[in-house]
């Protein structure tokens, strides 16, 4: 989020902590050739990425790097929406166009639905959004209510956070909590205690964007602790390796949160490669880059890992069966190295 537009060098991500942006990125320097062999045959699940602001090239690279499934949480698109229709269109894109686009590259796309904390501060609009949110929360492939929680920690943010926790209970969906950048520690504690107050089982709640300061308490209270590997921010992946070394793989998961900021949709495979280099056991890597996210969000009843194994074929003829409608309209993957454009 662009807190200070006068500081163009600072990275405008919704995860970013502007005060701490001097860290050197590590994983972004990795070229595919550098780590390809290290992660050969591994599969990854990115439980937090905003594909709506990414390109089709990203999908191609992600598929190549072994990412088989992703979760796209509903969030802030960089500027406030001015009407209900923009929310409807955005939510629809998460379950519609974006999921379709993802499927073209053999990547299974899920999402979490929610009203984000920043926009919760527009009460009139927030009320309207809450009315249509159930129509989206119950949709196929919606694996949680998210990402919700606090930004400025205002009264209105708290109001809509609580209302959405109730919706999560009603819809029997996990919750994905976005923790604030400013006053993070307190915001994280507050998010967790309100969730418990509403009777949510911590094993149904994923607390996102953790750091060394917050992780212990999150794990101790029984929540899932997600970490965002985002360049220039507090959590580089070298430090991620240390966190995993210290706390083990239990209930810890890694994501890229890649969005419209300077971010990296390959953060997970690169971090996995780094972990391999550092001698972290493969089953530990698998847990934090794949299995834990599945276990946490499969409580929604919406994830079937067999879907990841479906033979991906860009051939529009291949998926036709019986008399059902055609699985058509699919575009073959283009060979970019070809001089000929057919």
């Amino acid at each position: 989020m662009c807190q200070n537009p006068n500081e163009p060098k600072k990275n405008p991500s919704h995860f970013e902590s502007i005060e701490h942006s001097e860290d050197t990125p590590t994983h972004r320097d990795l070229l595919w050739e550098d780590y390809e062999n290290l992660i050969q045959g591994m599969r990854f699940f990115d439980p937090h990425i905003h594909m709506v602001s990414r390109t089709t090239d990203d999908y191609q690279m992600m598929a190549k790097a072994g990412i088989v499934a992703i979760i796209e949480p509903a969030f802030w698109v960089g500027q406030p929406r001015t009407g209900l229709s923009s929310f409807k269109d955005y939510y629809s894109s998460l379950v519609g166009w974006e999921r379709f686009r993802s499927s073209q590259f053999g990547i299974k796309h899920y999402c979490t639905m929610g009203l984000n904390s920043r926009e919760a501060n527009n009460e009139r609009l927030a009320e309207e959004v809450m009315e249509i949110l159930p129509l989206f929360a119950f949709k196929e492939g919606v694996v949680g209510i998210g990402e919700i929680g606090f930004d400025d920690q205002t009264v209105l943010e708290e109001k809509y956070y609580r209302l959405q926790l109730e919706l999560a209970k009603k819809a029997k969906l996990p919750v994905q909590i976005h923790t604030p950048h400013r006053d993070k520690k307190r915001g994280t504690e507050r998010s967790m205690s309100i969730a418990i107050e509403h009777g949510l089982d911590p094993s149904w709640v994923v607390v996102d964007h953790n750091n060394e300061e917050t992780v212990k308490s999150v794990l101790d209270q029984g929540f899932w602790a997600a970490f965002t590997i985002y360049p220039f921010t507090k959590m580089g992946n070298e430090r991620m390796v240390s966190v995993v070394e210290k706390y083990g793989p239990e209930r810890i998961m890694i994501n890229s949160s890649a969005d419209w900021g300077i971010s990296d949709p390959l953060a997970i495979p690169k971090t996995a490669a780094l972990m391999m280099q550092r001698g972290i056991p493969k089953d530990v890597i698998r847990m934090v880059t794949y299995q834990n996210a599945i276990d946490a969000f499969a409580k929604s009843g919406q994830i079937d890992v067999k879907d990841f194994d479906l033979e991906f074929s860009p051939d529009p003829n291949a998926k036709f069966h019986g008399n059902s409608v055609l699985r058509g309209g699919q575009q073959p993957v283009i060979n970019k190295n070809s001089l000929f454009i057919q």
Binding site: S92, V95, W97, L135, F138, G141, F320, S324, L326, G328
Partner: protein, 284 residues
């Protein structure tokens, strides 16, 4: 939409549900419309993921006033969603339209498929015309298919220009045009002109021609088509030759009929009933 449709469909649907699924569905009709709409969305969370199955007797006779309306290949969820849509109160009209519009506005892919496939059954069918013609422009394959293939709505309600767009886009998307409901009944001269232009373009680009599309030229074929047909007879693709032969055979133009004289074996197989348009149908 009439009461009979609901009864037929209800019986058909409930034959395929378990007791608890049936209860869930019935309960949804007893509450308010918002619950009904949420049920439309939430159906996959409460119903099994199976495909529906039924014997061939029912096939195409499910909806008495819409002979041919097919539910082949539908899932139970798809069928249940269409049924739930028919439970939305039809009066007052404005509310009914607003509710269905909201479902369209918030729909994901599978919901859109259910909505479009339900169009010919929904009340106030003309209200959905612009949505339906928009869906033909969709670049999501499932949505396009739901309106264009095996759906009686376009034949019944599309104006000619929209109908022709649908057929042309089906061809461009390399989908089987014979799955368009009413294809032969709504052949027209404008469409035949577009088809013949399309064939010329494909020739110019050195590309293959989907032979099926030539059926759209008859009965509008004329002398101007002879050069195209001669080229098709010279093709190495047997399908292209056969399609050309069928056009000539069906044509009333003596000049086109005479082209067939050079291909007696094709003429014979048409006369013997061995070759007709259905032989050129492929999926896709």
């Amino acid at each position: 939409m009439n009461a009979n449709t609901t009864i037929e469909l209800t019986q058909f649907l409930f034959e395929m549900t378990t007791k608890s699924e049936r209860e869930w569905l019935e309960n949804k009709t007893k509450t308010n419309v918002l619950d009904l709409m949420t049920a439309f969305v939430a159906a996959p969370r409460f119903l099994s993921k199976k495909n529906i199955s039924y014997d061939d007797k029912v096939k195409g006779n499910l909806i008495p006033h819409l002979p041919g309306y097919q539910v082949d290949g539908w899932s139970l969820v798809h069928l249940a969603r269409v049924w739930l849509l028919l439970q939305i109160p039809q009066d007052p009209k404005e509310d009914c339209i607003k509710n269905i519009e909201t479902l369209f506005d918030t729909a994901e892919l599978n919901e859109l498929v259910a909505l479009y496939s339900a169009l010919p059954l929904l009340p106030y069918p003309w209200e959905w015309l612009s949505r339906a013609t928009d869906a033909v422009r969709s670049n999501m394959g499932f949505v396009f298919d739901a309106i264009s293939l095996l759906n009686p709505y376009p034949e019944l309600y599309f104006p000619e220009s929209a109908w022709n767009q649908l057929v042309l886009k089906t061809i461009f998307n390399r989908k089987p045009i014979h799955l368009i409901y009413g294809l032969d009944r709504r052949k027209n001269k404008e469409l035949a002109i577009s088809i013949s232009d399309f064939i010329d373009e494909r020739f110019a680009a050195g590309r293959k021609i989907p032979p099926q599309i030539l059926r759209l030229l008859t009965p509008f074929s004329n002398e101007e088509h002879s050069s195209t047909l001669i080229r098709m007879f010279a093709s190495e693709e047997s399908g292209e030759k056969e399609a050309a032969a069928l056009v000539c055979f069906e044509s009333k133009e003596p000049k086109l009929r005479s082209l067939l004289a050079n291909h007696p074996e094709l003429e014979l197989s048409i006369q013997n009933g061995e070759l007709d348009w259905s032989k050129l149908e492929s999926i896709p």
